[in-house]
């Protein structure tokens, strides 16, 4: 971890750049429901650049209740704005690129670099081949060369978390409307072939309501279940994607842990941090947990091993002091740790920043309900989210060398500027 930072530092020194772009964090503040005040915080290094970044850049509002954010390729970011029914695409400078409302009640996002996959609680979807209607929820596939939905497929009721792994999509179904609608909670993870959107299999975890943030670490997923707050307590499902693809029995694809992962993230060493509480309306009691989960050991031991308290430094102690912890994140490029506190919900929330070894660097005032993070690559580093992007799907913007001369044939491994941003060209 420290080595990585040191290594990065060396690269930066080498290329003669300042540290000004070391930490670049985009944070979605959900705002209040139906108040149209979802806002983006843009945080660089150790300070908030803006708590209304989207408004500043685009002179327009983002919408109501932004719910997820992912980077699709070096220049493109997708944001699901749930109550506005909008998938908003921006570039890495925050400029609005496109927006679509073809996926109403959108929830979470995943990408393979050429398409964005969206889970939705809704029942209809406008695709290029006309409207599709679903009894349950669905997953839509958006082509980022056209920003149109090219296909959509029904999964379980109220699908929430979605992850892309090796050509497959893993969709956690919640059935979360069960407390009002005429169906039960879901207990399944749907596995889709990303290319065809066919359902490959459905894994029954036996645990209801697979709701909330889903974290991914290579082949492993960390899926939260809050239970129903009455008879079924919260739990965490660790799922092995390779096992699922290989066709192992359902029970060999996952392990259920008796912890809540209300807020989870993938740590720099590939483990998961899971924070949450198991609450019961019967007793009104909480059981809080702050755990680190090594998914490989958990899978190998069937849950007997692999859960520890390896969250570094003062992170846990600081979170315990928060009014209302609302999100945790580790910058995948640098290992810096972030957490948010929603405080009193009518006032501004706070963003906490820790070093990779858990030393609290600062607390920053953001906006209401700060919840969802995305780290942009630091200066000199390339977006490493997915496989390389091909030209046909993402027509590159004009590329300039550091002297400002336009280059038509950039060389791999060299530093260039595009869209006002430095990057290392690594196209094969």
């Amino acid at each position: 971890m420290k080595l990585k930072t040191f290594f990065l530092f060396c690269i930066l020194c080498f290329t003669g750049m300042t540290l000004s772009g070391q930490e670049r964090i985009i944070l979605l503040n959900e705002g209040n429901w139906q108040a149209d005040n979802g806002k983006i915080t843009y945080f660089v290094n150790d300070a908030v650049v803006s708590n209304q970044w989207f408004r500043d850049v685009n002179k327009q509002k983002l919408g109501d209740t932004p719910n997820d954010i992912i980077q699709v390729n070096p220049n493109l970011i997708a944001i699901s704005v749930n109550w506005s029914n909008i998938i908003q695409f921006i570039d890495t400078d925050g400029r609005a690129v496109a927006a679509t409302e073809d996926v109403p009640n959108n929830r979470k996002l995943a990408t393979d670099g050429t398409h964005v996959y969206v889970s939705s609680y809704g029942h209809e979807c406008a695709t290029v081949s006309g409207f599709k209607y679903f009894t349950k929820g669905f997953v839509a596939k958006i082509d980022i060369s056209t920003f149109k939905v090219v296909d959509a497929v029904e999964v379980g009721y109220e699908p929430e978390g979605i992850a892309y792994y090796n050509g497959y999509l893993f969709v956690a179904n919640t059935g979360g409307y069960a407390f009002q609608e005429d169906h039960e909670y879901e207990t399944t993870v749907t596995v889709l072939d990303a290319a065809t959107l066919r359902t490959v299999r459905t894994i029954d975890t036996g645990q209801i309501n697979l709701y909330g943030k889903l974290s991914q670490s290579g082949r492993y997923l960390c899926i939260n279940s809050p239970g129903d707050y009455y008879d079924v307590p919260a739990a965490t499902i660790i799922l092995d994607c390779d096992a699922a693809i290989a066709g192992l029995n359902d029970r060999d694809c996952f392990v259920k842990l008796d912890y809540a992962a209300t807020y989870s993230c993938t740590a720099a060493d590939g483990s998961f941090y899971a924070i949450g509480s198991r609450y019961s309306y019967y007793t009104g009691e909480y059981t809080f947990n702050y755990v680190s989960i090594d998914p490989r050991r958990v899978m190998e031991s069937g849950g007997a091993e692999g859960v520890g308290d390896n969250i570094p430094g003062s992170v846990i102690a600081d979170i315990q002091k928060m009014g209302m912890p609302y999100g945790i994140y580790v910058n995948p490029y640098t290992g810096y740790i972030y957490g948010t506190d929603a405080g009193s919900f009518a006032a501004a929330g706070a963003l906490y920043q820790w070093t990779p070894d858990g030393k609290l660097l600062g607390k920053h005032k953001v906006y209401i309900n700060p919840a969802h993070f995305l780290a942009l690559p630091p200066d000199g580093m390339e977006f490493n989210g997915v496989e390389p992007v091909t030209d046909t799907h993402c027509p590159p913007s004009a590329i300039y060398n550091l002297q400002g001369i336009r280059v038509t044939h950039p060389l791999p491994g060299q530093l260039y500027i595009s869209n006002g941003k430095k990057f290392i060209y690594n196209h094969q």
Binding site: N85, G122, A346
Partner: protein
Amino acid sequence: MNCSAIRLWRLFAAALISLSCSTGVSASVSETADSTLLLTEVHVTATRRPLATAQTLAGADLRALSSTTIADALKYFAGVQIKDYGGLGGLKTINVRSLGSQHVGVYIDGIRLTNAQNGTVDLGKFSLSTLESVELYNANKLDRCQSPTEYASGATVYLQTRRPQTDSLSVLAAAGSFHTYRARATAEFNRRGWSGFIDAEYLNSKGDYPFRYKSEYEDTVGRRRNSDIEFFRTEAALFKNGFASHFYLYRSERGCPGGIVRRLSDKYTNIGREWDTDMFLQGSYTHRFNSSHQVKFNLKYTHEYLRYFTDYPENQNTARVDNHYWQNDAYASAAYVWNATKWLWLNAGYDFRASWLDADLKKFSPIRRHDQKAVLAMQFHYSGFRVAASVLYQHYRDYTSLNVGAADPLNRTTPSVTLGYTLNDLSLRAWYKCIFRVPTLNDLYYTQSGNRNLKPEYTRQWNIGAEYHLTPANWLLSAQADIYLNHIDNRIVCLPLRGTYTWSMMNYGKTFCRGLNSTLSAAVTMNRWRLSLLTSFTWQRDLNRTDPEDEDTYNKPICYAPTFSCGVTAIAEWRFLSLTVSNLYVSSRMWSYADPEDRLTPYNNVDIKLTGQLRHWMLSAEVNDLFDVQYEHIPRYPMPGRNVKLSLTYSF
């Protein structure tokens, strides 16, 4: 109506109000009455020199306002904030001195309108057409023969039903902006001591008003959708001396629009639809045995049905909900007053209410609540000095087979004291009241948010005030000012639970408010002219005292509370014409602490109404929000801008 008739009418109304509480009787409570005591003569002082802090709109002034619902009338009172989600169908609640709407009791002829489920009264469901007066009492009214419920709220609104004087029939047809049509028929009679009326009204409004949001980051222009309402209301009343009864039936269907948020098109808009059936039947009987004993009995049955449904496919954003709620409520009370001496009376009362709530929610089973109250009150007066004091005991117990179990029974006793001194035209007063609101059934038991361990939300109010009346021959002048202080503890709010994805009702929050309410009214009669002016002024500072550690919120003004507001209404009447101009100003309000931009802009609303009367016909034209000011009570719930109403009434 000429002015002497108006005066007579008012006098009569005043007499009625006092009569309804001073015609004798005895009580069902365990107090034993001493039947040999003397009659006291009080009701003149009670009405002309009110001890309580009160504001009244009655008779001609009430009719001259451009108002459709009682919310429109109440907004002109000092210390009142109306919360309105916009449009005719939008929920309208009243908040007095920032206590919160659930601390305001609304009473029709002295009997409270209740909703055990959520504790709030939608003022939009009540019409002014059957009312003689609307009164607001801070703390409570201080009449002689009151039921315990009348002491049980932090502020009380009294709606006094009109008692017809003659036989008459009137028919009204009205049309207004945004496809609004209304028809009403009222038949009144008065024979052999019996009087009564039947009043029926139908309204249909599309409510598609235009709105605009213009700021640095948007220029959103649109028309409100799913804001339609259709209702049918029937009321009937029957009176004879100490007997009064009232029947009310209201059925409606309405759209419940959501906040205006960023959307790429109008494709998905709706939130839901609501159907209501509200019915009540109430009766009260007051009897005076002799000069010193008087009793009053109240009986009421209420039935409420609500269906909430989310439209599909226009609404893709929420669960497909189709929930039904049923509430039944039976209420009985007995009150007794003993005029012990010329300078002292004692009031005792007991009431019992049983409420049933059922709903087809998951994990829900019916709940029954028994609510018992008893009060002991006294009033003492000597020369210009007056003292009123009361002690209220309340007991609540719930029964349910819900898995979470019923809340523990609640027993509380709360006091209130008022001191007054009157010298000629000037009255001074000081009062203190401590009262709580009990958690509603929703607060305690609602699926996935109810918390049966909630404590009651307490308010303590202190007030000093002065009132001055001048009533020479052709004019009158009255002014009052009150300075108040109140504390609210254990606010009942819905908050997310730490480390989960769920919410729960909790006791969280303290508020400290200071304020000044004042009103000034004047009327002059000259030849065929009558001019009157009604003004109210409110200044208040409501501070959040919840968390001393939180510098962003502690000692900051509470959200939605304006620092000051003021209303001015001028009425000019000449022969058969009447012109009313009103202006309401409300200063800016924060709606979150997160950003100084999270604030609702101040607004100024000017309404005009012109009425002409010729023989049996009356034509009335009104323009509300004359300057088309765009404003909101709740962020992103726009209020209608300028709108016009025309109505024609035929009566004989």
